[in-house]
């Protein structure tokens, strides 16, 4: 009697979780925009046997954006998932993997990310600030002012903007703009940049030094700007294969100052 086909894999089976972890590591390792994503749920799994110890696995995954920028060296396990009230961003991914002799490898991956609806956020937190478009004028002004302010104060390398990761605008109880953006160190000191900022270029990939800044500008009742930038130090650059298409996001070209 032919052997009964193996029972279909459950979405919470250890083998499914292992495949999902491989898929999430691949997605994060092959993106150089935005933030790292963490697994929230395995929506579906399909295994297509290809012969002894050889199978194709199709996964449907729900991911959630974490607070770690994609270029951050922080291990994913230490990256906090953005809470619902912080206006979460979800990633829907379809991933095709192959498992040969127990070794899982990703063959293809397609993801789409989208922010939670404003109504849902306000149901949970009526006064929480909502995500703003990244080419919103107020957002660009705050990022530009924050980076210029930081560069005026720093004694280290002059930093250029890589991309704006996310921004939120709050209207109550005060009018404030929150922005997060990725930066790269240049071949200039802050002093040299004052003399000729056009000559300041991002460091070559083998010396690259990326970082991440958060800025808060309170606009009313009195203007106040706070900026904090953390540089990661030199690390192996991520491959340039942006996977998570980020809807409605425009990226400043590396090294382009916001104006």
């Amino acid at each position: 009697v032919p052997a009964a086909p193996p029972a279909p894999l459950g979405c919470d089976d250890p083998e499914s979780v292992a495949a999902a972890e491989a898929a999430v590591n691949y997605i994060n390792g092959h993106s150089d925009h935005g933030y790292k994503f963490a697994l929230n749920r395995i929506k579906d799994i399909r295994v297509v046997p290809q012969g002894p110890n050889n199978a194709i696995i199709f996964l449907e995954l729900d991911l959630l954006e974490t607070k770690c920028a994609i270029l951050s060296p922080t291990p994913l396990a230490n990256c906090t998932v953005r809470s619902f009230a912080e206006h979460a961003v979800e990633g829907d991914c379809d991933v095709k993997l192959q498992k040969v002799d127990g070794i899982i490898s990703v063959l293809a991956s397609k993801c789409h990310s989208h922010a939670d609806s404003s109504e849902d956020v306000h149901k949970v937190c009526p006064d929480c600030p909502l995500l703003a478009s990244l080419n919103n004028t107020e957002v660009l002004e705050v990022v530009s002012a924050a980076l210029n302010y930081y560069n005026r104060k720093t004694i280290d390398s002059y930093l250029r903007l890589l991309e704006i990761g996310r921004a939120k605008i709050q209207y109550h109880p005060v009018h404030a703009v929150f922005a997060e953006f990725a930066v790269g160190a240049t071949n200039c000191s802050a002093e040299q940049a004052k003399a000729n900022v056009g000559a300041c270029q991002l460091l070559p990939e083998d010396q690259s030094n990326f970082g991440f800044c958060t800025a808060v500008m309170v606009k009313h009742p009195s203007q106040d700007l706070q900026v904090d930038c953390q540089l990661y130090g030199h690390q192996v650059p991520a491959p340039h294969i942006p996977l998570l298409s980020r809807p409605g996001v425009t990226y400043a070209h590396p090294g382009q100052d916001t104006s």
């Binding site: 894999l9 919470d12 959630l64």
Partner: protein
């Protein structure tokens, strides 16, 4: 002419009985939510 034979009531209970303690398996997908549902 064919007439539909009435199945004697008793026979209906002759279907394969479910083993005692049979519990249908919970749907195996989608999996559990690790953080929260959007």
């Amino acid at each position: 002419s064919l007439t539909k034979g009435a199945v004697p009531v008793a026979a209906q209970h002759d279907r394969v009985p479910r083993p005692v303690g049979f519990v249908p398996l919970p749907p195996s997908c989608p999996g559990k939510i690790l953080h929260f549902d959007i």
